[in-house]
Amino acid sequence: MLMRGGDLEGAARQYGEAARIAATVENADSVASNAINQSIAYQWMGRDADARDALARVLDDPRRAFSERRRLQAELRRAIVELSLQNPVSAATFAERAAQRCPNLSCEYAATILNVQSQIALETSRAADAEQLATRAAERARSRNDRAEAANALRMLGKARRAQDNAKGAIQPLEQALAIDRDLADPRKILADLTELSLASSSAGNRDAARDYYERAVTVSRALQDTRGLAEMEAQLRRP
């Protein structure tokens, strides 16, 4: 309820308290569930280091009998947080551990794992690998009807293609990602799609389309009151 109401601070505190109480009654599943939720709440607040610490309840406690699913969730979340903290090597380690708990990459988190691995590949200048992983992530997400991860995979595919100087090839997946994110009504992702589309159009030499996407991105960013994001986006677009 607190998360839905936007009280991230209160939600993180409540999740921490719930995990503590669950530990007193030795309910390992509830400990893990609340620790993971607390990590997500901290990350949405921009407190990545606290998000990493919250996961220690699960990852640094080998004695407690957490289920394979909870361990996978915690390792996947840790990979996401490490990537957000610009630690791609550590992120790759945790993503690999999560992948080993997902047989044949056919579990419910397969698309998320592949998307994280794709992003790690892009961060470590392996754009071709990133494109291949994003393609697989898109297939997995579609097969499970997971629209949010399908859009993430298409966005990653566009980024990977742009990084390989294939800006024209990046436009189509990015437009598909934008269509899905508009259906899902997630403004953060819509902003990311429009920014990537603007950059890809600019790289492809279509300055009118780039300008159009840029103006739409600015409108979304202002509506989100994301002044930092707006400044970063403008700085990116001004680069030659």
Binding site: R142, L199, E232
Partner: protein
């Protein structure tokens, strides 16, 4: 009289008209057959693959085969084999490059539980496509019992928490009973305290009288004290009587409260048992199929793990 027969003009070139009519009917029939054949996919090249399942329950000839929710073929036939039932699938050849070796065929339902049964193809790792006649792995659908077990696993922690809370509530009830017992003891001691206060006041009166006779230098002051003491004594006497009344009232209330707690304890114990029973009934009701879709609280408690959160703070050029 001229006997020559002259046919009516409306029957002129009759054979030609009849032939033209038959030709048009033939053409229309052929077009209809061609349309039906096209719609049935007779002109589309099909690739046959197959899988083997221990039993064919829920599988039917003609059942659609889907890839990413899109119909790409159908079940073309089934026959008994040594391993169980050999099920043949006809897939439109244009989609075969999307079905690499290592793909999986799953028996599932559209809309999870109540939709139409379909064969869902889950593609494997990218690689060479399955060839004509090749075998694909098959995964049977999950049974209702497995769905129920899933729900049960999710509901058990919630009921354990409820049980703990009820246990704590019962413990709190015992604490209140102990506190009221101590309070009652203190209230029983109040009349004794009251009597000792009276003695103290009497002693103070005597002392004051003695002081007035022995201390000549303080005679004026003592006279004032003598005036004040009786007035104070009257007021204190009234106050002590009020305290006495209040103490009796408190003692009575304490006794009533203790009685109420003693009566409430069995109710609490019964409440615990009833809650446990209700939990079991509720648990059983949740396993019944029509209700099972309505209980998603435990699932809702999990926040989504979204790879988007892993993004860098700004897009890279």
């Amino acid at each position: 009289m001229n006997a020559t027969f002259v046919p009516p003009t409306r029957f002129s070139r009759l054979a030609l008209k009849v032939n033209a009519f038959l030709l048009i009917a033939l053409l229309l029939g052929a077009a209809f057959i061609a349309l039906v054949a096209y719609k049935q996919g007779w002109f589309v090249h099909q690739t046959r693959i197959h899988f083997v399942t221990p039993n064919a329950l829920g599988l039917n000839k003609g059942m659609p085969v889907k890839l990413y929710g899109f119909t790409v073929g159908s079940v073309s036939g089934m026959e008994l084999s040594e391993e169980g039932v050999d099920v043949r699938l006809s897939i439109m050849s244009e989609y075969m490059p999307r079905i690499p070796k290592g793909s999986l065929a799953k028996h599932s339902r559209e809309g999870s539980v109540v939709g139409a049964a379909v064969i869902d193809i889950v593609p494997g790792k990218p690689g060479p496509a399955l060839a004509e006649g090749e075998r694909i792995e098959f995964q049977p659908s999950r049974s209702i019992a497995e769905f129920i077990d899933d729900i049960r696993r999710q509901a058990v922690p919630a009921f354990n928490e409820m049980k703990t809370v009820l246990g704590q509530f019962k413990g709190s009830g015992e604490d209140i009973a102990v506190s009221l017992h101590s309070l009652r003891k203190e209230m029983e001691a109040l009349p004794q305290t009251h009597r000792e206060l009276r003695k103290l006041i009497t002693t103070a009166e005597r002392t004051a009288a003695e002081l007035s006779t022995t201390a000549q230098g303080t005679e004026r002051a003592m006279a004032n004290v003598e005036r004040a003491v009786p007035e104070l004594t009257t007021k204190l006497g009234g106050a002590i009587e009020s305290i006495d009344g209040a103490a009796q009232q408190l003692r009575k209330t304490g006794e009533e409260a203790q009685g109420a707690i003693q009566k409430a304890r069995p109710v609490l114990e019964r409440g615990d048992a009833v809650a446990r029973d209700a939990g079991e009934v509720f648990n059983a009701a949740k396993r019944v199929w029509p209700l099972s879709d309505s209980f998603n609280e435990t699932i809702d408690r999990e926040l989504p793990i979204d790879s988007f959160d892993a993004r860098s703070k700004a897009p890279k050029l």
